[in-house]
Amino acid sequence: MALVLCAQLPMLSAAQSTPDLSGMWSDPPPRAEDAYCHVGCTIEGRNYLTQILDDPANIDRSYAELRSEAQRKQMAEIIPSHLTSSALEYFPRDRSAAPLSAACDPWGFTRQIFAPHAFEITQHEDRVSFYYSEWTARRTIYLDGREPPADLESSLLGFSVGHYEGDILVVETTGINANFSNAGFAHSSQLTVTERYTRVVNNDGDGLGKGNRLEVEAILQDPVTFQKPLLMGRAWTWAPSEEIYPYESCIIPTK
């Protein structure tokens, strides 16, 4: 019994009371909810997908069909119910209007934090470093309690500070450039995001070991874009053998 309880405890470093999130993470094995959230999803949309997947009335409906239903609900109901009337005028973003900018510009914050593929976390005493394979983007999360500079200028990935709450890394980011998300909404530079990273044990028998899953839930708030906070999330799996490859100059797809 004691051994079973120990296996369920969060991963805490022996030397520190902070959770051990360091290492290389990457895409989880193909599973319904994780695939739905491949580039981030609303928590409400993901929960809806779970509900319809586990409904015996849907036994004869394919995953593709159920995923489409959950995507429709996310795009037609969940996200619009969070948007201000002014934000609704630009939802969903018409990607065909500027496909090349979407193809060859580094990702903005709300796309980057849900980036698929390899993602490396390095924990230091006074900061945490995030290194994403997508766009080889880097973020520094300051743990020393500093305030954002008074003359902070907004940037692509903003200014992040963090702290630990038990086994959760909490990151708060401000100073984010106006941009758009993979979920189809655009946001202003008043966006603030709180991310909560948790390392959990996945007991689905995929052989990846204890504490093999990293989950993020993010709360997006922006008085220009949202009438109420939007909750989004994604997960990665422990992937020590993966590596981050350099990005070459983006060749604009053949027009």
């Binding site: 599973r31 580039v39 036994i59 593709a64 795009m75 090349l100 193809a103 394979s133 797809p253 053949t254």
Partner: protein
């Protein structure tokens, strides 16, 4: 102000393309409702980020040589699925299927590639869907059994 009809059309287009491919950024460049198959020789392969490209040379029905490009997800996605820089032999003849350019250019977005030895590489998102469908059936069966107990 965007009209209601315009908003509905945009949402429909967004959902249709989301159904096809979850994270492609090329909705205005490739037509994901159509499919094209190419059969020809690989003359160059760039396994790069953010996007990989397979350059093919083939002969059309008029006997003319054409240069085509198969565009694909980047090395981030493909390397973990077994793609390597040297996976194609010199002028290896392959069959590539994908979504054609929406502007008539000689390019497709990868759906599958079959090498000369028959080995097939499928768009990672498509192959994942097949695995997930197995999961879906198991979960639905479980839910049905629970409900009948």
């Amino acid at each position: 102000m965007k009209s209601l009809i315009g908003a509905v059309l945009l949402l429909t287009a967004y959902l249709l393309s989301s159904i096809a491919q979850a994270h492609h950024s090329f909705r205005g460049v490739f037509d994901f409702s159509k499919h094209t198959t190419l059969h020809g020789a690989v003359v160059k392969f760039d396994l790069l980020n953010p996007h990989a490209r397979v350059f093919m040379e083939l002969v059309n029905e008029n006997g003319e040589t054409e240069q085509w490009v198969v565009e694909a997800p980047g090395k981030l996605s493909l390397a973990r699925r077994g793609w390597t820089d040297d996976m194609f032999g010199d002028r290896e003849v392959i069959t590539a299927t994908g979504n054609p350019s929406s502007t008539g250019k000689m390019a497709i977005w990868l759906e599958s590639i079959v090498l000369s030895d028959g080995t097939e590489f499928i768009d990672p998102l498509v192959s994942d869907d097949d695995v997930i469908e197995v999961e879906r059936r198991a979960r639905a069966q479980q839910a049905a059994e629970k409900s009948s107990n």
